[in-house]
Symmetry: C2
Subunit: 195 residues, 2 copies
């Protein structure tokens, strides 16, 4: 079975669209998905940005919010422009990494994006993440919050982010079919059908 790597940042708007629509498409294509949480912040800093480009470039930002409304309506994805953008996805990314082999990982990932981009909740806060964990089926949210703070998980997220950058990732969502990079939720279909 082919595997597609799905690189996501929990603060990224178009990652919301990607994770909410990719599962049935992957199933239909017979492709398994491996979620790779990472952080855009260090990549943006690397090119001189201290904020989301959607905040730095207001015209691009205004367009993105309108585009998100249209896209989410088109795909039937709940969406509400969040009162804070971008939110810090560090804690969510660590928890998602800690849950890599857990049944709750995928519902947790989708739940965090729903919390951020449909429910306007503060995903940087442990209380919010604990609730999303519980709703995703994790028995002991506190265990996973603690686990997310351990050294190996922190190191892993840092290394994964650096590895993404080294492989040419510059935004989210990004997808790897083998070494072939695709950027943007618009490319999901192309990435899934890549030989």
């Amino acid at each position: 079975m082919k595997t597609l790597e799905v690189w996501i940042e929990f603060g990224s708007t178009y990652s919301h669209v990607a994770v909410q629509r990719i599962e049935p498409l992957a199933e239909a294509a017979g492709v398994s998905l491996r979620y790779r949480p990472f952080l855009l912040g260090p990549l943006f800093k690397n090119v001189g940005w201290n904020d989301s480009p959607f905040n730095i470039y207001p015209d691009k930002g205004a367009y993105m919010w309108r585009d998100m409304e249209r896209l989410c309506r088109k795909h039937g994805i709940p969406f509400q422009r969040p009162s804070r953008f971008p939110r810090n996805g560090l804690l969510a990314a660590r928890v998602a990494l800690a849950g890599e082999d857990q049944a709750w990982q995928v519902p947790f990932i989708r739940g965090v994006f729903m919390a951020n981009f449909a429910l306007d909740r503060e995903i940087a806060e442990p209380e919010c993440i604990a609730e999303v964990l519980r709703e995703a089926g994790a028995d002991d949210p506190q265990h996973w919050l603690t686990r997310a703070g351990e050294h190996d998980i922190k190191t892993r997220l840092r290394n994964d982010t650096e590895r993404a950058r080294a492989r040419g990732v510059f935004g989210a969502p990004s997808f790897f079919a083998g070494d072939e990079l695709f950027w943007g939720q618009d490319r999901i279909e192309d990435a899934l059908s890549w030989p």
Copy 2:
């Protein structure tokens, strides 16, 4: 009949993909097209860029060239990475504006993009533009090159570019269905079916 405005910059890679694939889609959708040549340079200067963002941000640039190869193969569009990027689209844009009511306008527009992105020709040079005009069916290329240098055409291109910026355009290709802005060749289908 609905009309879609197609804002293009002759130096822009994804504008090549857009103009080579939009005509049959528009015909099938029953939408007429109005091409609006403009210049990205002044818009980029406005946000502090003195070059294409694909040159300023090398990872984004490397990805774009690979993406162009894939996209053009997928859509059956001739493509060869040009030896110079971006080329100056000023002359081509003025000629395209001068030819707005001429039968050669659309084949000329498509021909300039082919010259730039499939034949690696210097579209900033009058000899190249004259040849594209001839191939597009213009009887007297020299007449149109002269016409392109007249005051009203120069002013019109400057005003159109400023008007695009004022309406929220920040890249190319861009499409307006009424006042609804769509950015990128990925959005052609959505733009054509916009109510």
